[in-house]
Symmetry: C2
Subunit: 444 residues, 2 copies
Amino acid sequence: MKPIQVGLLGIGTVGSGVFNVLQRNQEEIRRRAGRGIEIACVADLDTARARSIVGERTRVVADAREVIANPDIDVVVELIGGCGIARELVLEAIAAGKHVVTANKALLAVHGTEIFRAATERGVMVAYEAAVAGGIPIIKALREGLTANRIQWVAGIINGTTNFILSEMRDKGLDFDVVLKEAQALGYAEADPTFDIEGVDAAHKATIISAIAFGIPVQFDKAYVEGITRLAAADIRYAEQLGYRIKLLGITRRTPRGVELRVHPSLVPARRLIANVEGAMNAVLVQGDAVGATLYYGKGAGAEPTASAVIADLVDLTRLHGADAAHRVPPLGFQCASLSEAGGELPVLPMSEVVTSYYLRIRVADEAGVLARITGILAEAGISIDAVLQREAEEVGGEGSTQTDLIILTHQTREGDMDAALAQIQGLPTVLAPITRIRKEELS
Amino acid sequence: MKPIQVGLLGIGTVGSGVFNVLQRNQEEIRRRAGRGIEIACVADLDTARARSIVGERTRVVADAREVIANPDIDVVVELIGGCGIARELVLEAIAAGKHVVTANKALLAVHGTEIFRAATERGVMVAYEAAVAGGIPIIKALREGLTANRIQWVAGIINGTTNFILSEMRDKGLDFDVVLKEAQALGYAEADPTFDIEGVDAAHKATIISAIAFGIPVQFDKAYVEGITRLAAADIRYAEQLGYRIKLLGITRRTPRGVELRVHPSLVPARRLIANVEGAMNAVLVQGDAVGATLYYGKGAGAEPTASAVIADLVDLTRLHGADAAHRVPPLGFQCASLSEAGGELPVLPMSEVVTSYYLRIRVADEAGVLARITGILAEAGISIDAVLQREAEEVGGEGSTQTDLIILTHQTREGDMDAALAQIQGLPTVLAPITRIRKEELS
């Protein structure tokens, strides 16, 4: 049988990875897919660079629409990124009856509903394993491997840049700014690292995970997003002393009132496997009611790990090309008809409704009664305390005025209640600096 | 559409898990599968117990063949176990045109080739996610998630009983026999634990993994199998001092001369994630050429984790029921035609051809020159030494005769060369007890 014909839109790092792995492993892949997979055409504005990657035997064009219009192309792989031209091209490819593979998490987190609906109506598949956690087949695990389960929650280290930075901060006791520069020098962080360090990239991925886990529409606009830029080396050290590591987690949880969807730094017990995921690695922990906890670990980025996911999608599409829609896995793993319905029943909760526990670091004047006042406010708000760590006082400024860090771990409480209590505590004259509040997840 | 009709052969622990999870999550499962999944009939010799599990609305019979002969049944789930009647029934179900789901690793490791061939000829599917690592979707990851990769090796903790025993031996410093009794009391080990502690169960699973990873036939008879019964608490302690944990690993590796397929206790660097998998948990580490290392972790046994895998298979079968064979994933992930061919090119290597590194514990008389003689023999065999740990001598028996444990870590060498060197060392008059030899895997 003729190889399945693939058109590549954009051939940067990931695109060249896809091209190289398909070439190198073509025999193995053909034995698996039952049919060859061939990149027939590549579109990239930089045609010279594209040509240098693919050689003479593959067609190179500057205009992506030429690929989409090509009647020989079965599958379009979108590797342009972003929500602008990529969205247009994906929708055009679908309209032209092409299956689509994309690694574009931003596009799916924001425009997924529109794209999946268009694909379903046109009878084509949209596959996106590479959009979440790079080479780890977590989309497949959630959509197909854990279908028996009512998923209870998913928590993942799904951004390698921030995990690298946090690992380095902990290993070397350095502050965020210093490590960010090192990460940029090493290529682990981009020149403009905003999307990574502010948690946006992780939130795109968490949004997609949330939709698959619970059968709800993608709702990036409802995600709570907090990055790692305000983390101090001191918090990582204190957390360590209390038996925790700090990780940037993407968390989504089913509760009776709705779904939590949030990205923020989290204290995780140091003995958990996921707390020991270091450097730029990714890991996703899934809690299902039948299977219990399962964890998936691997490289979340890079040319070939991402290519691994793109090509796995191509093999799936190759097998299912021409099959009736009933034989395919629907885009989010749930039948589309049942999706919108459930979205109504399972709203994404505002952050004030989220229930979790907390690490608080409060800079206080070293005076009698400070701890009593603070714990009194927490008690009044119904927030119970798990542990207190009081540091030795340091002399600051002279004249015998001393300050200290008060570290408090709380039990579970509503974020809204915590906000109110913190506002009160912040107002105390003995509280000398903005309070640091980091959420704590036991993941048990 | 009418729910897919499932017949259950055997309703013990896993069978009742399947029944209960299907009931509890039926709505969620229907939304995923696009169609209900219904256990229409259960066969079990103990019909009274079966009836007490499934209630009045499900048909219960004593004769499995009645289920197979039932024209309304689409899928037969075999949960009887073993290679006797289970093999007959699976082949009969296939002959009757039923899809088969099985959790029976022994059956597939020994008779997989016959069963997969029969299924392919008859045009039905055989699914077996539950046969390896319980609820962890590792079969799906290997067959579908990592299809882009040339798999280089897989190493797994794929037997919960032995991992529980090893974890306890390490935690509490106890010897094997003591912990085995505790594990039996807690239900982590069976009354007759032979299959687990001798490594046979892990070897069944490693055999299946090997076939999927490399596209070779299942060849249990070629597997090297060594259990944990001879491990001493001292070895676990020494390994710890050298920065290693001891795990029972199922390992399969592609080499230029063939495939390694082996189960044995292994020293693993303590900093590796897989070394920190404790208790009855399972984990499988897969090294692919594109994706690098990925790890899959979760519960490897138990009613509902295993049911999770069985039901995931049922959802897959429900989606693909009626689809052309080209749209399905072949039993071992590779097209059947390409399987036998490759089996010839990639023979399973005898253990003497395996290349790995070693931990040696040698009980020696505390005399001058002992270390020199032993290291001399290793050097002559071309085996280089990575580290030596010499314990303080203990007085044994009186009259000033002292003994000591000499611990040697070697670099990589052929097992055959190590066998020959060890035979020589064992023959030295200063070597006072059988040498302990444990393989060491860096997994990097």
